[in-house]
């Protein structure tokens, strides 16, 4: 087990290095000039040259990248062009917000998706099935930022239930969590439904039924547990789209997370910060995938056997 985890973590390293290379390459194509952006339009040519030299921007891209990787291995993410602080410090300050948002979104997605999926499976091919699946699809069909703004209008302004923006208390995360969670609900509901269907048809369920157990009890005690495995996987896979959606959600709701930082940094041509953000996202994504795989093993002993 530990060996497996270690192996997976080691395997992440070349992927992360590859990611930095790709992003470095893309950023080198960008038209803007970070130094000009930093110094503003009234800068003198001397100050400009001095700053370019100091940031090492006069070196070839590949040299810059090599330097970045070497520093990265020493745990140095570089210095932000814009704020002139350590990128790692800035990232560390933002990660909790993004994690909290992801947590709320996932929880809300599961709270809504599981019942929808289960009901749909139990009432397969009835109008209830249809309606449940339709509802779950609505979330994924609405552009996140529009949905977010509508939520703001309704819950913050009309009803005054939630604060409109910020990240002070958990209350601040309910609405963004909803906007983002609804987006991820569809796949979770769908997979819950189909794996429930598959499980319901299994022999042991029939056996349980024939023993005289009530239908509800069978569903609760036997079917659900087995149906959960694919649900966990899909929930994990949703984290990817969740992270991407967090960029928009954080902007609309003013949450100080990595997503917003990344957009601001792209707009401010703050390359070390952009790289840092993408690295954090990629790392989060890879770690979640690893956790999903492990959970998978945890829930299903047959899979666990393969890892050891």
């Amino acid at each position: 087990m530990w060996k497996y985890i270690l192996k997976r973590i080691v395997a992440m390293i070349p992927v992360l290095i590859g990611v930095t290379l790709i992003v470095y390459f893309i950023l080198s194509l960008a038209p803007g000039d970070p130094v000009r952006a930093m110094l503003g339009e009234q800068s003198t040519p001397e100050a400009y040259e001095e700053m370019r030299e100091a940031l090492g921007l006069n070196d070839p891209v590949i040299v810059q990248w090599g330097r970045y990787i070497l520093n990265l291995f020493r745990g140095d993410f570089g210095i932000s062009y814009k704020t002139k602080t350590n990128v790692a410090v800035e990232l560390a300050a933002r990660i909790p917000s993004t994690l909290t948002l992801s947590f709320f979104a996932t929880t809300i997605a599961i709270i809504f998706a599981l019942p929808l999926g289960i009901i749909a499976a139990v009432k397969q091919n009835t109008w209830i099935d249809g309606i449940s699946m339709f509802i779950s699809l609505l979330g994924v069909s609405i552009p996140i930022f529009w949905f977010g703004l509508l939520l703001l209008q309704f819950f913050c302004l009309k009803l005054g239930w939630f604060p409109a923006s910020g990240a002070d208390t958990w209350l601040h995360y309910v609405m963004p969590g909803m906007a983002l969670g609804f987006h991820c609900m569809a796949s979770i509901a769908r997979i819950t439904r189909s794996s429930m269907l598959e499980v319901i048809r299994q022999d042991y369920i029939r056996t349980a039924r024939s023993k005289g157990l009530s239908y509800n009890k069978v569903i609760r005690k036997h079917a659900l547990k087995n149906a959960l495995i694919p649900t966990i996987t899909v929930t994990g896979l949703q984290i990817g789209s969740l992270l991407a959606g967090s960029v928009l959600t954080e902007t609309v709701f003013g949450i100080p997370g990595i997503g917003r930082l990344m957009i601001q940094s792209i707009q401010g041509l703050d390359y070390p910060m952009v790289l840092g953000c993408i690295l954090v996202f990629t790392l989060m994504f890879s770690i979640v995938n690893l956790i999903v795989d492990l959970l998978y093993a945890f829930v299903d002993p047959r899979i666990k056997a393969q890892y050891s």
């Binding site: 803007g32 000039d33 800068s43 005054g160 239930w161 939630f162 409109a164």
Partner: protein
């Protein structure tokens, strides 16, 4: 089986949560009404400052917070004239171009130490090494300590810009000790300003508390806490003031004015600004090097429509190549009245085929994009097919400074005509703020003449002359001067915004 219970538990928690939420929600609702926390003012803004340090940035968002925590030797008053701030008195020796400044006695920094001549000398020598604010540190030299409260410095002749430079946030005074330690200025924003820094939650808010030992008792802050909230999305900011979460919004969307004007809990401030906004065209790229093409565009665009669509009416049409409301304004021969026929005549004078003109307008925000869409549609009338490119601000700045463009929607905000002219039209600023890349020796000569003319009346004449020359040549297409739009709760008193867009949070108070 455990899983089922887990789900049950989660659902239960969710239920309780929603109940709890609706309860606290009601509480919040009542709070948003008349109840105001008189010890605190919450300011909402779109942009976060890059740094809390004074000499490490040249950002407007940073200037706002620097004004809270720091002071300069001088400050700009409501009419944008420099006034002594830390300085009690000053003197200028016309023979040696030496300035003598005497500090107020007993000024304390936030850390309790005294602000003395040593700190001023250390600061002004330190700021001269900082690239971000290099423009504001060229006017003075030879900063010397005379005694504990007196310093001298020299300028290159009579300088009108020195006092403005000393009032810039880049030259705000910081403790010598921090400079000697090479401390991180953003992490230690210690100054002698009216508010002390408390905490900075990156991307979310910055908190300040009033500084009890502030030296200027007359201008001491009246509200104890200031919370600076960063809310990037315009509509979210508007909702935040309506729901009562924030007390003041620095930048209000023009689209929200109508709604908020009707809201009796808030006051919308529409301040005519000196910010001059234009369609800038690169005069080095043919056919924009031809004055007839430029004049054609100038009268082909419908400024009233642009103001309506882009600003929702919150602005006035530009009247000249330089801003109205400054010394030396002059609408002579501007030729900006909307007249398609006249535009076609100018195009005929040029003689080329309008459909061959390539004009790509760079826009860095939604307002500019809306303006560009109207211009695009106007220019079609005279046969020019213009394109629109959205670039974010940083890319836009670097592209336009380097001259890699045909056109862009931009503007320039300056507190007085001299620096406006120097920045926008003087050939020495090609490659930075002279974006049209205008190189007219006559214009350069007149600008330099004006800077040496001490007499106000004489200077006005020269300045009007420059504007006339600029109007004749129509180097760019001025569109409008917009309003600074801010909004605050009705009970917030003494709010004032200068025509440059600056406000003075330390003077605010709550009506009780």
């Amino acid at each position: 089986m455990k899983k089922v219970q887990l789900i049950g538990l989660v659902l239960l928690i969710a239920m309780f949560a929603s109940i709890a939420v609706s309860c606290t929600g009601n509480a919040a609702n009542t709070k948003s009404g008349p109840a105001i926390d008189y010890d605190t003012v919450v300011i909402a803004t779109a942009d976060e400052t890059p740094s809390l340090g004074t000499a490490t940035h040249n950002a407007v968002a940073g200037d706002y917070v620097n004004k809270l925590t720091h002071n300069g030797l001088f400050r700009l008053d409501k009419e944008l004239n420099p006034q002594p701030d830390l300085v009690a008195s000053y003197d200028f020796d016309e023979n040696s171009y030496t300035w003598t400044f005497k500090l107020h006695p007993g000024i304390k920094f936030h850390d309790g130490s005294d602000l003395t001549a040593d700190d001023v000398v250390a600061t002004l020598n330190y700021t001269k090494t900082m690239p971000d604010i290099a423009t504001y540190t060229t006017s003075y030299d030879n900063v010397t300590k005379v005694d504990e409260l007196t310093i001298t410095l020299t300028t290159d002749g009579p300088s009108a810009s020195l006092l403005y430079d000393l009032a810039h946030h880049g030259n705000y005074i910081i403790p010598k000790e921090l400079i000697d330690q090479d401390a991180d200025m953003s992490a230690n924003p210690i100054g002698a300003g009216p508010y002390k820094f408390v905490s900075w939650d990156r991307g979310e808010k910055i908190t300040f508390v009033a500084f009890e030992d502030y030296f200027d008792k007359e201008r001491a802050p009246k509200i104890k806490n200031i919370i600076w909230r960063i809310i990037p999305e315009g509509s979210s900011r508007t909702i935040a003031i309506e729901s009562g979460e924030v007390d003041y919004i620095i930048e209000l969307d023009s689209t929200a004015v109508k709604t908020l004007d009707a809201n009796e809990n808030v006051t919308v401030m529409k301040i005519p600004s000196v910010s001059h906004n234009w369609l800038c065209i690169n005069n080095e790229v043919p056919p924009f090097d031809n004055v007839n093409v430029r004049r054609a565009i100038n009268c082909a665009i419908n400024r009233a429509d642009i103001i309506e669509v882009a600003l929702n009416g919150a602005g006035v049409p530009a009247t000249a190549q330089t801003p109205a409301g400054m010394l030396g304004e002059n609408p002579d021969n501007f030729g900006g009245e909307y007249d398609v026929e006249k535009a076609k005549e100018y195009m005929a004078k040029w003689g080329g085929d309008p459909s061959t003109i390539k004009l790509e307008m760079i826009c860095s925000n939604d307002t500019k994009r809306r303006a560009a869409e109207v211009i695009q549609s106007n220019l079609k009338e005279i046969g020019i097919e213009a394109g629109i490119v959205s670039l974010d601000l940083a890319t836009y700045l670097s592209e336009t400074a380097a001259g890699n463009f045909t056109g862009f929607i931009g503007g320039y905000t300056s507190n007085e005509m001299m620096s406006f002219l120097k920045g926008v039209y003087h050939s020495s600023n090609i490659g930075s703020s002279n974006k049209t890349r205008t190189a007219n020796p006559e214009v350069d000569r007149l600008i330099e003449l004006a800077s040496k003319t001490v007499d106000q009346k004489e200077r006005e004449k020269v300045l009007m002359e420059v504007t006339k020359v600029l109007n004749d040549n129509c180097y760019q297409i001025p569109i409008y001067q917009d309003y600074t739009l801010s909004v605050h709760k009705k009970d917030l008193d003494n709010t004032f915004i200068t025509s440059g867009g600056t406000f003075f949070a330390q003077e605010w108070s709550w009506k009780k």
